[in-house]
Symmetry: C2
């Protein structure tokens, strides 16, 4: 039955608008225009369609909502407050203040009810694609006749900015391919962006583009007033099961303001007299602020109560399900609890020096083959580099719409397409749904294409995993366009992200172990194209500390510290140095982030005082000064050629490393340098 609307709905809508007006005025900062324009859509959606439980924002089958134009966050904060999430009127009054629950853009880690962190444009709608993929997967895996456990929809609102961003294009194209009927996106067509009239830069036919992507397209022409039209569009969207739907809603930015319909209301609070004008127009007292009529609270609490009842019913259904499908229920409950199958880590491969040299991308494949069936939470694929990233485990089934003939939604291998940025954002959505460990493969160099999404994984504490192969000049012939130089430094400089560069099989297993058990930190696994020997002295346990002494000697003249493919070369270099009468220690440092969390005592045991430390890595030296006195690396772009020749060109041979080590020892003759790990504050 279609919803009906009365006066209270209008009051609720105007209440949302005015909360945005008041909060931005109080903060003297922020974006009132989008909330004022979008209040009708948001109200109809939250009040008449969505199922959620404000008392348990994590209720698993809740409908998800993403505000992709995150700068309009007062819309979301107002809604969360009205429906009874843990967000008070005082929190709204603290909008954009230090330490508040209402930061300038929605932060999933800060605010209950915020599903994903948005603001950087294009990300939210792409996260929504991931959220919808996750729902499709859970439904395919767990739903059984009589047990529609997973029925939720994912709703998103995006503005003109998101429409223009490439990441949104990538994810939207993927969503069309994937036929995600559970995804409904509102496009706020208000003809205004920061520069003013969108006609200055955006003249594409947005709905036609989405049609080309394979979406259902709808248009509500009067999004300011036509509540029934909005509701009818949502109903039509929900009814379309094999396509995502975009609903273009033509709205007036800053509806009610004297400046409505102009970019004057986009990013600046309303002037005092304009605010009074709007309040009078909406029948509110112009002298009062942050007013919520009780009837609005009442209207919203009815919806909230229905959501709580939905969760109650869901929990009961799950109990019945547990009796009938005990194994699936165990899996499902462990997803909800965020735990992995007991003993899963015993499946991680272990190596000895007797094992053959293997490329770490192949070692990664061995891990995925070992874990594919053991850890059903694992879901991932590659941005069209499956045969190069080695991301597909043997028993994998593709995550595909059944009509394609390539797989079904219970599958866990994702063909992301050549869409690295979209992949990163989709992974964030998959992870945000809960109960999944998403991974995505590409060349390390092209993780940079996804920098915007990677940053949000780190900021919003989402533990996704990048399988980043071809991690250096060691990829050889493809040349400088594909050879990372700055990439590791970039991500090592990013807060809250692990950047693993395993040197052998045990380190690769350690990288997966730490990444997969991480609750709040994403990972990038930098993996070689070329073969790497299995090292004496490496273990999963030691590598899990992020760094350790691979080769210890007393009274060392030098410590060499290295990562990944250069650790084996450095080990050979220590032998050359020995033959010349030097004593050289060797440290493997596969992940700086994890190592930095160890005790200072441990870190000083790895990097002690008294002799020089030299880093060896075939990319930028920038950052290595943190752990070393001298750095051997590459601060130019690479070169195209067979990889051993490229390595030799830059001096990365055992001899070349030993030569620099000798120079380092000579430069520190008579000096007893302090460990760089000591810091003054």
């Amino acid at each position: 039955m279609s919803p009906t609307f009365d006066k209270v709905d209008t009051v609720a809508i105007n209440t949302i608008r005015l909360l945005a007006v008041d909060a931005t005025i109080k903060a003297n900062s922020g974006h009132p225009g989008a909330p004022m324009g979008l209040a009708p859509v948001a109200h109809v959606l939250f009040n008449k369609f969505m199922s959620f439980n404000p008392k348990n924002p994590k209720y698993f089958n809740r409908d998800r909502f993403v505000l992709s134009n995150g700068h309009g966050c007062m819309l979301l904060y107002a809604l969360l407050h009205l429906y009874g999430y843990d967000l008070s009127l005082d929190d709204l009054k603290n909008f954009r203040q230090l330490g508040s629950k209402t930061p300038g853009h929605p932060e999933a880690a800060d605010t209950p009810g915020v599903e994903v962190t948005t603001g950087p444009l294009g990300q939210g709608v792409s996260n929504a694609v991931g959220l919808a993929m996750a729902q499709a997967h859970f439904a395919a895996r767990f739903n059984k006749p009589g047990y529609d456990l997973f029925t939720n929809y994912t709703y998103a609102i995006m503005g003109d900015g998101c429409v223009m961003e490439g990441v949104a294009s990538e994810a939207s194209s993927a969503a069309g391919h994937l036929q995600l009927g559970n995804l409904i996106v509102f496009y706020d067509d208000n003809h205004i962006s920061i520069d003013g009239d969108t006609a200055q830069a955006l003249t594409e036919d947005v709905l036609k583009k989405y049609e080309a992507y394979g979406w259902q397209t709808l248009w509500v022409k009067d999004g300011d007033n036509d509540l029934a039209g909005i509701a009818a569009a949502i109903e039509e969207a929900k009814a379309c099961k094999n396509k995502p739907t975009i609903i273009k809603v033509t709205t007036t930015i800053g509806f009610g303001s004297k400046l409505q319909g102009t970019h004057g209301v986009h990013g600046n609070p309303l002037k005092k007299d304009d605010a009074a004008h709007v309040k009078e127009l909406f029948g509110f007292n112009p002298n009062e602020s942050f007013v919520v009529p009780q009837e609005v609270y009442d209207l919203c609490s009815t919806t909230a109560a229905a959501g709580a009842a939905d969760e109650e019913a869901w929990n009961q259904l799950l109990e019945k399900y547990s009796a009938e499908y005990p194994e699936l229920a165990v899996d499902l409950k462990s997803r909800v609890a965020g735990t992995l199958p007991e003993g899963w880590e015993k499946s991680l491969p272990v190596y000895t020096p007797a094992d053959p040299a293997i490329a770490s991308r192949k070692l990664s494949e061995t891990v995925l083959n070992a874990l594919g069936d053991v850890v059903p939470q694992l879901i991932g694929g590659s941005a069209d580099l499956t045969g190069s990233n080695y991301t597909r485990w043997k028993t994998a089934v593709d995550f595909q719409p059944p009509s394609t003939g390539f797989g079904d939604y219970s599958g866990r291998y994702i063909r992301y397409g050549v869409r690295e940025h979209g992949m990163g954002a989709m992974m964030n959505g998959l992870a945000a749904y809960g109960g999944l460990i998403p991974f995505g493969g590409t060349f390390l160099n092209f993780v940079s294409y996804a920098a915007g999404a990677v940053r949000l994984s780190a900021l919003s504490e989402i533990p996704v995993i990048w399988v980043a192969t071809h991690d250096s000049i060691g990829l050889g012939e493809d040349g400088p366009t594909h050879q990372p130089i700055e990439t590791l430094a970039h991500f090592r400089a990013t807060p809250n992200i692990m950047v693993w560069r395993p040197a052998d099989g045990n380190e690769c297993s350690a990288a997966y172990k730490v990444s997969m058990t991480s609750k709040h930190t994403p990972s990038i696994l930098a993996l070689s194209r070329q073969n790497l020997p299995q090292l004496e002295g490496s273990t999963i346990e030691k590598a899990s500390k992020g760094g350790y002494v691979l080769k210890e000697v007393a009274d060392a003249n030098i410590t060499i510290v290295s990562t990944g493919s250069e650790v084996g070369l450095s080990l050979d270099a220590t032998k050359i140095l020995e033959s010349k009468g030097y004593k050289a220690r060797l440290v493997s440092l596969p992940d700086w982030f994890t190592f930095d969390k160890q005790s200072l005592d441990y870190k000083l045991s790895v990097f002690p005082d008294g002799h020089p430390i030299m880093s060896v890595e075939v990319m930028t030296t920038l950052g290595w000064q943190k752990y070393s006195h001298e750095q051997f690396g590459i601060n130019t772009f690479g070169a195209s050629g067979p990889y051993l020749q490229v390595y030799a060109k830059f001096g990365f041979t055992p001899e070349g490393i030993a030569e620099r080590a000798e120079k380092t020892i000579a430069a520190y003759k008579g000096v007893s340098p302090r460990s760089p790990l000591h810091i003054a504050f």
Copy 2:
């Protein structure tokens, strides 16, 4: 008159195919499939339509060609060889070898005739948009009745990979908006990507999407054989003056191979017997390699000669033009020569400490206002942040299709839309055309969205300028989603790019001066939202060295080194330290890249031995160890709030800086540390 085709054309096409077969076999690496499928399109285009002069690859009015699917570069190398560019058969035999002119992907800096560096997918077609914009601008500025000096077209080929990349979507949407009738893109519709059948990931209707972008769309259904159809499509494309054209060409990847039409021919050389099979099929001797029939050279040299004649005629036209339009001719000739108007740098603003505190984004606007009319090479805009980046100078005219009513093609202010990555790639194209200095504005944090394009600016030595405002936590309320932490480290770690963070007006002028005179190095200008004082001791000359001593004292206890908005705070900190009896020097280091190029003597005069050096910058400390013993920065994400409160939260006040400086002095008591600028090798 439409071109006609005979047997020699077929031989030429098969010659191209076989050169790709032979080169990839000899390299035992590379991509034969795309060249074999695309040889007909490329031959028709180069032989029957394009105007270029292999003896002068820089002939200004040449048609531009971009191979966006750069992995198919043997197609391009074969063509360049056949038409007589400085690329010998031996060069082709050295495909993908160290130091060759034929690297694994096309590198503009390495190979004559390669317009832009491609390989990272989506970039080339986006560069092509920039090339076409440049042509439209030159035509609007310089063409006069009887003087059609600028008539060239820009052609590009892209594959399925480019079609899926967001950057291509952004640039293509912009191209449609800009109505670039001089842009013709071939879409190689071969149904194969690395993962195999494109239907696994790409089911969008590509032509419909481009129609939605505002392009003319054409389809050649038999791209393997229908040469007349290809030619007719190109003619139709050229005839459409107010829209870019996409020509979908359905081809067979690896045409002629036993594995044709499969991903088996995408990224691996053909097997020996398959190569023999193809050669026999094409009527070539299966036992010979790298064969070019003389008739093919002859056919190609006719086209090359026509191109040389075109240049000759163009030069004569330019001489006549010089008489009639002497001022424009002076401008044009300086563009071709790559020089700037004499004395332009005198317009750069100069400041004294008596001048008021001004945000460096405003200082940047003052520079643009001063130079907008003085340097006609300047062309740029913002990714929909004009009012925040302050990128639009007072007298600017928008670069727009006249029919929009917003400007015309002679304008130099570009409304890039919310398309940061596309902007970066379009800037690369604008610069590659020659005679232009492109700039683009966004928030510093969102330059990361364009990392793929920025990297290619650096790699291909294209001096574009990023006006990157809101460069730190100093942006305040927008919060962590917008506050860069890792961004400067990322780009400082990238080879061949300047990353300026000016501390005041003189440093801002220096940043522009060095960036605008750079021939081979792009720049990022990191600019503050908040006001910065004009510093005693800063000059354009000193700052142009990348780093200098802002405040010198004898027998210093400490040197503080800082950048941008923290230099003024650090200066105040030195005063606090003085009041406590310490002697503190202060170094401003606005650009590491430029500073690193100075003599060691100079660098050691800035960072001398004997006392500790502490860095101060409100972002990651990573990398600062290169210049300092202790680092004060922020290695977590930022916070949303009024900016002074956010600065105080992280300790970035004169008092907070002085406190860390005291701890540094204490930690180095009795130690006479060496300057970090000394290196062992």
